[in-house]
C-alpha cells in the first residue's frame, strides 16, 4: 500500500502506449516505477529521449488516464482533479491560448485552480515582474517570443503557490540571463518548502539545482539518490599524450576503471597511486605527456555511464 504521508508515491507503475486501428503496436513507456517523494526537495528527473520521464509526470498529473500500478499525489489518485489543486505544472513545448494576454493567462489559469480573482491579482504582478514579463503583461500571448512564453508558463504554474511543482524543460528557449533567474527562483522556492520536479536535458543545471536525482532509461529507474551519492568520490584523470599507440592504450587499461579513449589520449577513474603508476607506464613507452588533468566526475559522466551500461 502506498504511504499517504508523502507528497507523491508510486509503486510498480506501468504504462503502455498503443497505436493503430486495433492497438497492435505497443510501446512500454514505464516498466514498473517505484518512487517516493517527501516535502521540500528538488528532484531531477534525468534520462534520454523516450526514457519515460514525461510519461511519469503526466501519469501523476492525470493527463494519462490508463496505467497500471499504484500512484498517489497528496494522498489522492491522479484521476481526481482535486489532487491537482496544489500542483503547478510547466509542460514541455507548451502553448498558451493565443487569444489571451499574459495577464489574462495568469488570472484565468490561477482561478482555474480554485483561487479567488483578488488573490490571483495580488500575486500575479510580483511573479511576472520576477520573471521579466510584467511590461508585456497586457500584450496578447501570440506576440510573445518563445522565451517569454516559457517564462509566462513558469509564472502561471506558480500563480496559486503550489506545494508540488513539475517543470518539464523549464529553461528551454530561455536566454542565459533568464535561465539564471529561473534557477535562482527555483532555489528560493525550494527554500520555502516547495517540492520541485525538474525534467531536463541540461544536466549541469540539474546538478546545480537538484537535491536528489532520478535517472531513468527505457521506462525504468536506473538509479536515484542525492547528487553526491550518484557521483561518488571517484575522480577522473585525463592524459593528453603525444606519440601514443594502441599498445600503450591497452597497457593503461590496467590502471583504474571506466576507461575512455579520447582524441589525444585516454581518461579513467583512478586514485593517486594508480595515476602515478600510469605516468610511469607512459614514460616507459616513450610517449610524451603533454597534460595530466584531474577532474571530479560530473553528473553527466554518471548519466552517460549508466545509460551505456544499461544499453550493454
Amino acid at each position: 500500500m502506498v504511504q499517504s504521508d508523502s507528497i507523491l508515491s508510486v509503486r510498480d507503475l506501468k504504462k503502455t502506449y498503443t497505436k493503430g486501428l486495433f492497438k497492435r503496436e505497443r510501446f512500454e513507456a514505464l516498466r514498473g516505477i517505484d518512487l517516493e517523494v517527501g516535502r521540500g526537495s528538488v528532484f531531477g528527473l534525468l534520462g534520454p529521449n523516450g526514457a519515460g520521464k514525461t510519461t511519469l509526470i503526466k501519469v501523476l498529473l492525470g493527463l494519462l488516464p490508463s496505467w497500471k500500478g499504484e500512484a498517489q499525489v497528496f494522498g489522492m489518485a491522479p484521476k481526481n482533479p482535486a489532487s491537482r489543486r496544489r500542483i503547478g505544472y510547466l509542460p514541455e513545448a507548451h502553448r498558451m491560448p493565443e487569444y489571451l494576454t499574459g495577464w489574462q493567462v495568469m488570472i484565468l489559469f490561477g482561478m482555474m485552480t480554485g483561487r479567488s480573482k483578488a488573490e490571483i491579482e495580488e500575486r500575479a504582478p510580483a511573479l511576472m515582474q520576477r520573471l521579466g514579463i510584467w511590461k508585456d503583461a497586457h500584450r496578447k500571448v501570440r506576440g510573445y517570443s518563445k522565451g517569454m512564453q516559457q517564462r509566462l508558463g513558469l509564472a502561471q504554474s506558480l500563480i496559486h503557490n503550489p506545494d508540488l511543482l513539475f517543470l518539464d524543460e523549464p529553461t528551454d528557449g530561455v536566454d542565459p540571463r533568464g535561465r539564471k533567474a529561473i534557477r535562482v527562483l527555483i532555489e528560493e522556492l525550494r527554500d520555502q518548502g516547495m517540492t520541485i520536479f525538474i525534467n531536463s536535458h541540461l544536466l549541469q543545471e540539474v546538478e546545480l539545482i537538484c537535491d536528489r536525482v532520478v535517472i531513468m532509461h527505457q521506462g525504468q529507474i536506473l538509479r536515484q539518490g542525492t547528487v553526491d551519492e550518484l557521483i561518488g568520490d571517484a575522480e577522473r584523470v585525463s592524459f593528453v599524450l603525444e606519440n601514443s599507440n594502441e599498445q600503450l592504450n591497452a597497457a593503461l587499461h590496467a590502471f583504474g576503471q571506466a576507461h575512455r579513449t579520447e582524441p589525444k589520449g585516454i581518461s579513467a577513474e583512478m586514485d593517486d597511486e594508480q595515476a602515478n603508476a600510469a605516468i610511469d607506464c607512459i614514460r616507459k613507452s616513450g610517449a610524451r605527456i603533454r597534460e595530466v588533468r584531474r577532474d571530479r566526475k560530473t553528473l553527466e559522466d554518471v548519466f552517460i555511464e549508466l545509460i551505456e551500461e544499461d544499453r550493454q
Binding site: 487569444y99 489571451l100 482555474m112 485552480t113
Partner: protein
C-alpha cells in the same frame, strides 16, 4: 469545482469569442443588417427608404406581397424570414461552424492540452466550456441581430412583432445541435479541418434528408403518388397487352423505388437531428405570441365565429364545435355591397371504388372537385366555368349560374381533412367580381378547353351577352381572402411541401410532425454526441 473555476471558464469562453476575427466580421455584418432596419420604414401604404429619399409602394412588389389586406405585415415578414432563415439560418450558421469548429481541437492539441488539463478541473467540464463558448459566439450574434432588427422595425415602422424574437433562440438551438457534433468529431479526430468539414456535411445532409422526406411525404399524402399508383393500377387492370403490362410493371417499379427512397429519407430523418425544423419552431413560437389577426370575422348570435386569416393556413372556430357544420351547415349573410352568402358544411368523406388489391381509399378533394365540375358543366354548360379544377391546384371552382345576365357567381372550395369533407360555397350576386380575382391561364390543351373567358373581351361579350362595367364590380376582397385562406388552410396540398409541413407541424401533432418529438430527438442527438465526446475524452492520453 468551485465558483472561481466556473468564472474562469466563462471568462475564457468570452475572451476566445471576442478575439475571433470571424466573430468580429459577423458582428459588423449583423450591425449593418440592424442599421438597415433603421433605414427602412414600412408604412401602411408604402415603404420609405433612407428617411423618405425613395418611396416604394407595395404594389411594386407584385406577387411577393402575399396579403392584399395587410401588405405591410406581409412584407415585413418576408424581410424577417430572409434575415433569419436565409442569411442567419443558413449562411450565418455555416460561417459560425467554420469559425468555432477549431475551439475544441485547439484545446486538445499537444501543448495546450497539457496546460489546461493539468488544472484541477474535470475533463468534461473543460470540454463543455468549449461547447458553450461556441454557443455564446452564436448567441451574441443572433440576439444582437434579431433584437436589433426588431428594434429597427418597431421604431421606424411602428411594427411590433414580438414573436420574431424567438428566432434568436431557434438560431442558437440549431447551432447547439451542430456544435455538439462538431465537438464529438473534434474529440475523435483532434483535427479542426475534419471538424469543420464533417459538421458542414451534417448540416447540409440533415437539411436535405428533412426536405426530401417532407417532399416525398407531401407528394404521397396529397395525392401525387396516389395518382401515380392509381395509374399503375389502372394500367394493370386494363393491361391485357404485353405493352400495357410492361408499362404497369415499370410504374410499379417506380413506386417501389419511391417507397425505398422515402424509407431511406425517413430513416435519416429519424436518426439525425432535425435542424430543418428550427424555422418551423420559430414560426410556431412566433404565432403563439402574436396570434393571428383575422381578416374576416363573421359572427351570428351565439353561433360559432369563423376566423379566417388570409395568407395563412388555418381557419378556426371558436365558441362552437365543428359538428355544427354537419347537415345544412352554417350560413353567413355577407353584409358587403351586393350581399351574398357563404355556407360551410361538413360531411363524411366519400370513398373511391375498391382497387384491384382491395384497398378502399378516400376520395381526394381533387376527385371531388372534378365531379363537381362535371355536374356544373352538365347543368350550366362549359362556358359557365370561371375557375376550373386546373386552377389553383384543383380545389376551388368558380362559375356562373345559368340564366339571364348579369349572372350570379358561385365559388366553391372543397377541403378534405381526416375523415371529413368541408365545403365552402359562396353565392355572390351578379357583378360580384373582385378586381384582383385573377384567372390563371391553362397550361395544357385539356385545361385550355375549360379556360375561363376573358370577361372584358369582345368574345366574352358575345358569349355572355353583356359586358361588365368596372363600376359594377364589387369589392369582394374579404370573400376572396376567405376562400383562398380557407382553401390553404386545412388542405395544405394547395400549397407546396414546406407549407404543407408547416401546417402539420404542431405541439400536439402526430409523431412525425410533432414539435416536442422534433426537439426531443434533436436534443437526444445532441446529448449523445456530447456523451460520445465524454467517453472519448475520458480515455484520451495527452
Amino acid at each position: 469545482m468551485n465558483r472561481n473555476t466556473i468564472r474562469a471558464l466563462l471568462a475564457d469562453a468570452r475572451y476566445q469569442v471576442f478575439d475571433n476575427v470571424v466573430f468580429r466580421i459577423l458582428l459588423v455584418v449583423a450591425a449593418l443588417i440592424v442599421a438597415l432596419s433603421f433605414c427602412v420604414s414600412f408604412g401602411e401604404e408604402d415603404i420609405s427608404i433612407f428617411f423618405g429619399k425613395w418611396v416604394l409602394s407595395y404594389e411594386q412588389f407584385g406577387g411577393l406581397v402575399r396579403s392584399s389586406s395587410d401588405p405591410r405585415g406581409s412584407t415585413v415578414q418576408i424581410v424577417q424570414s430572409t434575415v433569419v432563415e436565409l442569411i442567419a439560418g443558413t449562411f450565418g450558421i455555416m460561417l459560425c461552424i467554420a469559425a468555432t469548429a477549431f475551439f475544441t481541437p485547439r484545446l486538445l492539441e499537444k501543448g495546450s492540452a497539457d496546460n489546461i488539463f493539468s488544472k484541477p478541473v474535470g475533463r468534461f467540464t473543460l470540454l463543455l466550456s468549449r461547447y458553450f463558448a461556441g454557443i455564446f459566439f452564436v448567441a451574441v450574434l443572433s440576439f444582437l441581430m434579431v433584437f436589433g432588427v426588431q428594434a429597427g422595425l418597431s421604431i421606424m415602422s411602428g411594427y411590433n412583432d414580438w414573436g420574431f424574437l424567438w428566432s434568436a433562440a431557434t438560431l442558437v438551438y440549431t447551432y447547439a445541435i451542430l456544435q455538439a457534433f462538431s465537438v464529438m468529431v473534434a474529440t475523435l479526430a483532434r483535427n479542426s479541418v475534419a471538424s469543420i468539414l464533417l459538421t458542414m456535411i451534417l448540416f447540409m445532409f440533415t437539411g436535405c434528408a428533412n426536405s426530401s422526406w417532407v417532399g416525398l411525404e407531401w407528394a404521397d399524402q396529397t395525392g401525387v403518388t396516389q395518382m401515380m399508383r392509381e395509374n399503375a393500377q389502372a394500367a394493370e387492370d386494363e393491361g391485357e397487352s404485353a405493352e400495357a403490362e410492361a408499362e404497369a410493371n415499370k410504374k410499379s417499379e417506380g413506386e417501389a423505388a419511391f417507397d425505398l427512397i422515402r424509407s431511406i429519407a425517413y430513416a435519416c430523418r429519424s436518426v439525425l437531428p432535425r435542424t430543418g425544423d428550427a424555422d418551423m419552431l420559430a414560426r410556431m413560437l412566433r404565432r403563439s405570441i402574436e396570434g393571428r389577426q383575422p381578416d374576416v370575422v363573421i359572427t351570428e348570435g351565439d353561433a360559432p365565429v369563423l376566423h379566417l386569416v388570409s395568407n395563412q393556413r388555418k381557419f378556426e372556430f371558436t365558441g362552437g364545435g365543428l359538428e355544427e357544420l354537419d347537415g345544412d351547415g352554417l350560413v353567413w349573410m355577407l353584409t358587403s355591397e351586393g350581399g351574398g352568402t357563404i355556407r360551410i358544411t361538413r360531411e363524411l368523406r366519400p370513398k373511391r371504388e375498391p382497387s384491384k388489391s382491395g384497398k378502399i381509399r378516400d376520395k381526394s378533394s381533387r376527385d371531388l372537385i372534378r365531379e363537381l365540375r362535371d355536374r356544373i358543366i352538365e347543368e350550366h354548360g362549359q362556358i359557365a366555368i370561371l375557375r376550373s379544377p386546373g386552377d389553383h391546384r384543383g380545389r376551388r371552382i368558380d362559375w356562373r349560374v345559368a340564366g339571364r345576365p348579369p349572372l350570379p357567381l358561385r365559388s366553391c372550395v372543397l377541403i378534405t381533412k381526416d375523415d371529413h369533407l368541408y365545403t365552402l360555397m359562396a353565392e355572390l350576386p351578379a357583378g360580384a367580381l373582385p378586381s384582383d380575382w385573377d384567372y390563371e391561364e391553362e397550361e395544357d390543351e385539356e385545361e385550355a378547353a375549360t379556360a375561363p373567358p376573358d370577361l372584358e373581351s369582345e368574345e366574352e361579350a358575345d358569349e355572355g351577352g353583356e359586358e361588365y362595367e368596372s363600376s359594377d364590380i364589387l369589392n369582394l376582397d374579404p370573400v376572396q381572402d376567405f376562400m383562398l385562406g380557407a382553401s390553404f388552410a386545412t388542405d395544405p396540398s394547395m400549397a407546396n411541401a414546406e407549407v404543407w409541413y408547416e401546417s402539420k407541424f404542431d405541439w400536439d401533432a402526430e409523431w412525425d410532425f410533432n414539435a416536442f418529438v422534433s426537439i426531443g430527438t434533436s436534443l437526444a442527438f445532441t446529448l449523445l454526441m456530447l456523451f460520445i465526446s465524454f467517453l472519448r475524452l475520458r480515455r484520451t492520453d495527452f
